[in-house]
Symmetry: C2
Subunit: 458 residues, 2 copies
């Protein structure tokens, strides 16, 4: 059985014999008995297994090292130690040995060391907590959207549209780099490639998501996303996961309602379903984590315009590294100040059009777009969204102004011709959410096998 | 509100005013009144909206064409027509116009025509049903694994390991094809690429999944997968979605239990949650679909070895196109015969080692591996899995025999050294499941925006 199910109902198993498979996380042996710290990875908690020299293979058991896979049978009994219950083993069988030089020993390893052991680090308490929270948060996201009548859409990753700026996208090919076909103009002949065109991995599912929102009213995507950014920071990876909901008949205010409701649902879901994992992170990663999350669930998010934010920043008695400007973006230091100023999450709306994407709805002032970023204390920008431009002519004009190759997205623009309507959507980087939920501050430590410039091992 | 919520509780809305947003799917107008066939895409069912010349904008409303986005307010009343209820409109407002040449008219379009309109086809009844079933089936898969203590793992797509045969994987690059860097041997210098190496998009998450199964006992992946196959059949696409569970402490029999249990759960979940969608598919796509699915849920899957299958095929009084061989694969015609022979799903186990992957567990006969394919009536091979080779030396030998570049998967092989254990896993092509669930027979019609050789538009 799974340790998770055993522990969830342990009183009912008292004095009964159970059968478990798992791994030795720690081992102390005395002359006539021993203690095994046992985990099967189905929950954060371990089980103490006590054995003694009544077992026929007692001597062999005492030699078992940390990391060994074992099969154990025994009775659940009340414990005299720190834990309430333990197992009195009647049989312990070695299934998979583990040598003395096993890198994951029961001591504190640095996160940097564990990154070098990406295939073994999920066995540590920290990564058990992080990846279990990641799994349950993903489940919460699906549950939220499904229960609110959203359709989950698997938008394609392969694309021939270069609307996002092709320099930010990976190129994809089946051609042999050392035997490339050339056309009559001595350029690589992409017509010989599998899709007969230069093809990319897209960095967003939004355009395709909009097509589905115009058919299903409410949709969401949840899948991997790619950026070619050659930057080595704590928050950048070249492969990560995104959630991109898109909602027809929804203005900016309605979008903020959805973002706030969804985030509170997901955080609350994790508080309920990842209690032990969050306690671990609270104790060893970010003190006060559970208070922070509980506070978010009970807070009312502030809604304020970009212009008002700049007003506040300009009035602040702070020496800024970057000067706040009415027509400019806001820096990390500003984000931090604003969330502290309002003591909670802040929606910042109506951004200068020149720093936002071409498909965002132009406001009547002709200067700002109906975009919204959600700034969260301790996490920075967690979501970015907007109402979409639903006027065909305005959309085409913005696209041309920003040098978007309209021919590759004509179908997307046509959505405005065929029963288009006001609609809005947002994107949330899944890893940024996990960073917020766990307190772990480096994106490399919330992705199973992170890909960053120069790092694509494992 | 959503039409889905209204219809689920329609009796409670009788004689009450409701407010809806959605699209005109059909429209008949008479001199003094009219009928709008209305859908908002949240459910398969439509709502009939009745309006008359008491409305101030009656003349404008009569001119609204199919495809228009509208906002309607009205009272829910019992209907005199075919449907039980309808809306008596008090206000209809045009939100987004639709021209007369709108390609999606209320008539039967061929699937081939609709593929050319990939961004509009989700508005048709067929694709409403298919993509809603797809969304709900995905939800069922997550629900099954989460409720059985599995951890959802997002394994990476970018990889530098070429263990599957690099010719089956797309290459990924940030280099400029028309300005490639060369090394001193006049080969393209992949050290200048973002990851300093030749990089691929992987076709499986299994290797990474195994690393996580050795930490969490039970895991699953669910994400996009890529193949470079240049083949134009009804069942091949270059981008599709896969589910890959991996289970520690699990032999082949246990794996078959899980596959059978999971499939029955998912099919039953869809029978319960996609009733209207399945009824549509049963009527217009595959007659008898619901019976087929119900039968599967209540059937006991047969378990038989590859050798026994060949025995049966050889004894069959059928003139085969491909001769059944004890050391060979089985063809589509054989799959069909066997599922008809047993009148239900069939697990075929213990396949000749030479036609299966290098990481599958070698049986004691040294000729077969502990692999299992699940053959389902009308769908062919739906899942493929195996017990994994857990002996380090045997694994390395098989890898070398099959020319796998062991250096790129040394970490995977090392899993056998550090507390390895018997474990098994399988893969299920998500689109193949959707084909089975909907009766739609072409993979291009169950993927939102399909990618096949030469086709990467939209």
């Amino acid at each position: 059985m799974d340790l998770k199910d055993l522990l969830a109902d342990i009183k009912n198993y008292l004095n009964k014999e159970v059968h478990l498979w798992g791994w030795i996380r720690n081992h102390r042996d005395q002359k006539t008995f021993g203690f095994i710290d046992f985990s099967d990875g189905t929950c954060q908690e371990h089980l103490q297994i006590v054995y003694d020299n009544n077992l026929a293979n007692f001597n062999d058991i005492t030699k078992l090292l940390v990391g060994c896979a074992i099969e154990v049978t025994g009775k659940i009994v009340e414990s005299k130690g720190n834990q309430a219950y333990e197992m009195q083993a009647s049989n312990i069988k070695l299934l998979g040995n583990c040598p003395e030089d096993y890198p994951i020993q029961p001591k504190r390893h640095t996160k940097e060391f564990l990154r070098e052991q990406a295939y073994l680090r999920p066995r540590t308490n920290l990564f058990q907590a992080v990846f279990r929270i990641r799994s349950i948060a993903a489940c919460a996201i699906h549950e939220y959207f499904q229960s609110h009548n959203y359709i989950y859409v698997n938008t394609p990753l392969l694309t021939t549209a270069d609307c996002e700026g092709s320099d930010q996208m990976f190129k994809v090919t089946t051609l042999d780099f050392n035997n490339l076909p050339y056309d009559s103009e001595h350029k690589v002949d992409m017509k010989k490639d599998l899709f007969n065109k230069l093809t990319f991995i897209t960095g967003t599912g939004q355009l395709h998501g909009e097509a589905f929102a115009m058919a299903f009213k409410k949709i969401y995507t949840f899948g991997p996303t790619f950026r070619t950014e050659n930057s080595n920071t704590k928050t950048h990876a070249n492969e990560f996961w995104m959630i991109e909901p898109e909602i027809a008949f929804c203005h900016l205010d309605g979008l903020m309602d959805i973002e706030e409701d969804m985030l509170k649902f997901v955080v609350n879901y994790c508080l309920l379903h990842c209690q032990k994992e969050l306690e671990f992170c609270d104790k060893f990663v970010e003190n006060g984590l559970i208070d922070k999350l509980t506070k978010l669930v009970n807070s009312k998010f502030t809604r304020i315009t970009h212009h008002e934010v700049i007003d506040i920043l300009k009035k602040a008695k702070v020496k800024w590294e970057f000067n706040p400007e009415y027509d400019g973006d806001i820096a990390k230091e500003h984000e931090k100040y604003i969330t502290e100023y309002f003591n909670g999450p802040v929606f910042i709306t109506n951004w200068p059009k020149d720093i936002k994407a071409w498909y965002m709805k132009l406001n009547d002032d002709d200067k700002t777009v109906a975009a919204v970023d959600l700034e969260v204390p301790g996490a920075g920008e967690l979501m970015g969204g907007s109402e979409r431009e639903d006027d065909y002519d305005k959309l085409i004009k913005r696209a041309k102004d920003l040098n978007v190759d309209v021919d590759t997205v004509d179908w997307f623009c046509n959505l405005r011709k065929y029963g288009g309507c006001f609609h809005s959507g947002f994107g949330m980087g899944f890893e940024r959410l996990i960073i917020y939920l766990t307190g772990v501050d480096n994106i490399r430590d919330v992705i199973p096998f992170p890909r960053t410039p120069g790092n694509c091992d494992y």
